[in-house]
Subunit: 216 residues, 2 copies
Amino acid sequence: MGKVARRTQEQRTAETRHRLLDATITLLLERGYFRITTADIASVAGVSRGALTHHFVSKEDIVTQAVQHQLRKVTVDLHELADSLEGKSTDEIVDYLWEMMAGGLFLVTLEYLPEARHNSEFKAQMTPVVKEFHAALDAIWARLSQHAGIKPSQAQVMLNATMCLIRGMVAQTIVRDDPDYFRSLLAYWKGHLREVFVLDRRSPQARPRRKVSAAE
Amino acid sequence: MGKVARRTQEQRTAETRHRLLDATITLLLERGYFRITTADIASVAGVSRGALTHHFVSKEDIVTQAVQHQLRKVTVDLHELADSLEGKSTDEIVDYLWEMMAGGLFLVTLEYLPEARHNSEFKAQMTPVVKEFHAALDAIWARLSQHAGIKPSQAQVMLNATMCLIRGMVAQTIVRDDPDYFRSLLAYWKGHLREVFVLDRRSPQARPRRKVSAAE
DNA sequence: TAAGATACAGACTGGCCGGTTCGTTTCTTG
DNA sequence: CAAGAAACGAACCGGCCAGTCTGTATCTTA
């Protein structure tokens, strides 16, 4: 049988870790944090449990790093979205964020949140990972606000609200199978965003039609 | 020693079940679904595991019934809120809903959602419980909309959006310790609600409240 | 008040799983 | 190429826990 080509230690490590992290995300999504075992992860990754325990000191450790892995990929995607913003509507941005969150990102979050709430060590490991992502989001919101006729501070609040709305909706999808309901909520929110957010293609000084009350 | 007063079977059952359901909610909130055992629940309730297994066929069963118990109590509270709505602002309603959700209701939900997502039997048991609650919410929203003088359909969407926003925010509180952030989101949302409710105030029909149906 | 029914108590068990340990293979370095 | 280091594989173990089962107490009913 064809032996694997000779690789440097660095390559072996990178590949194995990568496979394990991908497998972890896949399994978090498919089976959830409390229903997967380290043996499952190793199996899906196609390596032994020994390999897993060699690279990650605990289950919490590999999950934390897997989430970081995922969030960083998503951050890259979002920056690409911000790159290609010409002619995009706020509707499209909302749709994009919804697809992203409902398509797995927030479902994975929902899997580890209960653990984070009750396992302080795990929470301590996860906190900086989440902070990094939130900071990245703020940067992306700032970029989006540049394309619109509103102040960055307003964009921050509105887009963070958008994310929270979507989070709540995704959570509800688990126990509420009602696409029309979610469509109506998204449609309402898109309408609201359109009123305030004017994605601008030419004139850089488009003004908001309404004032938004920022922090109290 | 003072023996327990003689009780009918019905009383014994009701009391034991009630203690077990209360203990389940308490423990779901404090330790989470996957970190509590049926032995824990029995212990907190002050009964034996035998009593628990006598009244509930499985862990999923007792959790489902405990959640139903909690949701029905919350429904009563919300109807009381709707009763005493004179002179209340939308700000106060938002604050009430936030306190309710962040104070435990949605944290409990977050505990069982992962199980519901991956355990189809559990999900099947939980679905009607959640549906009942959603229907109750719709009825309450209808009452609120009559009070505020806006169209029921609009109130449905806005108040459901409010709930989803709050859900997303509560989820985020677990990994984001930043009260100012959440305050600013709530402040923004209150402002938005004020605008809409004021906007539709111009056709106020001050009719007496009537019973409303949850039907679409 | 006796017999059956219901409520409750507590021991047992079989499977699971994360962490540990140790042996083997692959790569690096001098 | 030899020796050490890193990567990996696999068996083992100790604790945990939901469900089961059997025995006992309390209540109902005829």
